[in-house]
């Protein structure tokens, strides 16, 4: 007798090289087996024509708790995550106060556990109070549960501080995640610098802002032999630099956000503030370079940079609006376009949202191996639905995909063997 039996789905578990139609069964909140099951189950889910995979991991999420809970709190963020098939999120430290000491790490983890819908792994700040001056206590932060370090939202702009951060973190094999943006080139900018920014008369952010900081960081990574991860890569030049660094054998990795491989700067031609984020939507050439990076493996991870904002912070004109869009609930359908376009196999695509980030951050999730926590996503890759921002589980309404048809729908999300999301409903 097992607790849950997921029958006849196409089980894709890239960590264990599984892609076949079979069953997954669960006992005591853990995966008890993958294969052909015979016996009884308390609960049976018919997964015929559906895909069964490990719960997705989104390693780049901004929740606004503590400090700005009206934008998003851990509860609403958790609900948005499981609605998107995501069972583990790594949260960026730019809260208020920011995650720069162990107490806050423990606090946000405890809060997520209490809610019990989604695993939360904090990414702690590199510098105290995100000021870019003094390093945080990375040893203690790591012991408390921080899985990586980043000042995301801001770059670590000072080259000397960055060098020290890479030296110190690499002494203990920690990962530094950089929001690569040379502010001296992007100050005041709202969208990509180019023909679109010129037509709108809106100050742009040139690709060199991203590219030049990555170039600097790769040099430092080479000297220090550190682990360096580029957040939300968005330019052709950045993808090329990361590819070359990897060919050289440096431990440089990167992630792409769905909006950067699905959309271009043309989205803001009507001054749409819901398509404003940092780094901004770029040109078609950049978009195709990001897709090529995903195809050839330069970009190992898909992560959303989920950034909920209150409407007041978006409804004030493009150049004044806050940066960021929500992404947890659209990550899977938008990413599935890569499979449909023949860029990635279904297994390789799922790997970028499961075992690849798990490996990068040493997380136990992202695998259906026997004995692992039964965090599972079950989706219909062909189901079509129309995104309505008013129906999002996130408190954020800031999405550029409002009103557009999504292909691919999460039907069930299981966390520790419990069905926490089922056909549009969250089971608290």
């Amino acid at each position: 007798m097992v607790d849950v039996l997921i029958q006849n789905g196409r089980v894709i578990d890239p960590a264990n090289k599984i892609d076949e139609v079979c069953d997954v069964w669960i006992a005591d909140g853990k995966v008890a087996g993958v294969g052909k099951f015979s016996g009884d189950a308390t609960q049976t889910i018919d997964a015929k024509d559906l895909i069964v995979c490990p719960g997705l991991i989104d390693m780049h999420v901004h929740l606004r708790e503590p400090g700005e809970e009206w934008k998003e709190d851990i509860e609403s963020g958790s609900r948005a995550a499981i609605a998107g098939g995501v069972t583990s999120i790594c949260t960026m430290p730019n809260t208020e106060p920011c995650i720069d000491h162990a107490g806050i790490v423990l606090q946000v983890i405890a809060r997520a556990k209490e809610i019990g819908l989604c695993n939360l792994h904090p990414i702690a700040a590199v510098s105290r109070n995100l000021k870019g001056k003094e390093l945080t206590e990375m040893r203690e932060l790591s012991r408390s549960g921080a899985v990586a370090f980043s000042d995301d939202g801001k770059p670590i702009w000072h080259a000397g501080v960055m060098r020290k951060a890479l030296e110190y973190s690499s002494s203990f094999d920690y990962l530094i995640i950089q929001h690569a943006e040379e502010k001296q080139l992007t100050e005041g900018g709202a969208i990509n610098e180019g023909w679109v920014s010129t037509q709108l008369g809106v100050l742009g952010m040139p690709v060199e802002g991203e590219d030049s900081m990555i170039a600097r960081d790769i040099m430092l990574t080479r000297r220090v032999q550190a682990r360096y991860h580029v957040a939300h890569i968005s330019t052709k030049g950045a993808v090329e630099q990361v590819r070359l660094a990897q060919q050289e054998g440096l431990k440089v990795t990167t992630e792409a956000a769905p909006h950067h491989f699905a959309l271009t700067e043309d989205e803001v031609l009507n001054f749409n503030a819901d398509a404003k984020m940092s780094p901004p939507l770029r040109t078609e050439e950049d978009r195709l370079a990001v897709i090529e990076g995903l195809r050839d493996g330069t970009i190992e991870v898909i992560a959303t940079d989920h950034a909920p904002h209150h409407e007041d912070d978006k409804r004030c004109g493009l150049s004044c609006a806050a940066f960021g869009i929500v992404g947890l609930e659209t990550m899977l359908p938008i990413s599935l376009d890569l499979e449909r376009a023949g860029v990635l196999s279904m297994s390789d695509l799922i790997a970028k949202m499961t075992c690849n980030p798990a490996q990068l951050l040493n997380l136990p999730e992202g695998s259906l191996a026997e004995g692992r926590a039964a965090d599972i996503c079950i989706f219909d890759p062909k189901a079509e639905w129309v995104l309505n921002r008013e129906k999002l589980f996130s408190k954020g309404r800031n999405t550029p995909w409002h009103g557009r048809t999504m292909t691919g729908q999460v039907l069930y999300t299981l966390k520790d063997g419990r069905v926490v999301f089922e056909k549009g409903e969250v089971h608290d």
Binding site: G194, T198, G201, V202, L203, G317, L318
Partner: protein
């Protein structure tokens, strides 16, 4: 509801207008010039209409121009100056727009430092026509219509003529709107500036680009001098000094003569005498600058009439 003329619901920018609409607005403006020179400068065209001038940026000229335009056509004109900083905290731009729209004016004339302000507000305001009186570095359509009316009077058809725009193209809504209008109306635009004052891919406007002012003079029919924001110029490293600016891009008599006798001078105002334009040039026979100001009122009368002067629709 009023039935707007020329198929115009709002006037956001030249980008949204077609040739017929531009020509109609300019010609209607032409018809209004005469009112402005009479001793009794009042017509009942817009009686019972309410126009609100909502200016978030200081601009006495443009605001006054709209105010006089409305009043001469008997509209009730209300001026509101809102500072951008005051709207940042507390009441938002949207609140201000919605509050004023709730008072049911026919037209809101808006000047704001944020590009796309009218486009943004129009999504939330249903029954109010909006006129963009300048939004950031984006567009300034009534200035361009004004210039076209002045050119109609002084050189006739603009098609095939060459306008040379000199100065801070990167931050100029006037330059952008002219480059768009040039494509529609068939005139050519040359732009003259160092790269620090040019926006990305400006060549996509099909304009000719010059860094050397003197090279651009030959074959120019209209010299269009942009106002220099003296504070911005040096602090942003866009230019080393005002002195060097005047030397390199200022219009003096020598340059005006080199351009040829047919060449006219325009400026959207207000001028910095001795910076982008020498005093003797500004006051010369070739200068159309005061005529632009005069025609500005006529064109704004046309714009207001187009949006709220039509017959009432049941």
């Amino acid at each position: 509801m009023l039935k707007p003329l020329f198929g115009l619901k709002h006037i956001f920018g030249i980008a949204d207008l077609n040739r017929e609409q531009i020509t109609s607005l300019v010609n209607l403006g032409d018809d209004f010039i005469d009112i402005n020179t009479r001793s009794v400068k009042k017509e009942p065209t817009l009686r019972g209409r309410t126009v609100i001038n909502l200016f978030f940026e200081n601009s006495t000229r443009t605001r006054t121009s709209f105010e006089i335009a409305g009043k001469r056509l008997s509209a009730d004109v209300i001026n509101i100056s809102a500072s951008t900083s005051a709207t940042k905290k507390g009441e938002t731009l949207l609140d201000t727009g919605q509050t004023l729209a709730a008072m049911q004016p026919h037209v809101l004339v808006i000047r704001h430092s944020v590009a796309g302000t009218c486009e943004f507000l129009s999504e939330f305001l249903d029954n109010t026509a909006l006129i963009n009186a300048g939004d950031g570095s984006h567009e300034h359509p009534t200035q361009i219509l004004t210039d076209l009316l002045t050119l109609k009077h002084n050189i006739g058809d603009v098609a095939g003529k060459t306008m040379t725009i000199v100065g801070d193209i990167a931050h100029s809504r006037v330059a952008r709107s002219h480059m768009l209008a040039a494509k529609i109306m068939g005139y050519k635009v040359r732009i003259v500036a160092p790269k620090t004052l040019l926006p990305a891919f400006v060549e996509n406007y099909d304009c000719e680009i010059f860094h050397d002012f003197d090279e651009a003079l030959q074959g120019t029919d209209i010299l269009y001098m942009l106002r220099v924001q003296t504070e911005r110029l040096t602090t942003n490293c866009c230019f080393p000094s005002i002195r060097e600016y005047h030397e390199t891009y200022g219009l003096n008599m020598k340059r005006l003569k080199a351009a040829g006798d047919h060449c006219m001078v325009m400026h959207p105002g207000p001028m910095n005498r001795g910076v982008e334009i020498a005093t003797d040039v500004a006051d010369s026979m070739k200068s159309l600058i005061l005529e632009q100001v005069e025609h500005g009122v006529a064109v704004r009368m046309a714009a207001l009439t187009a949006l709220c002067g039509g017959a009432t629709e049941e």
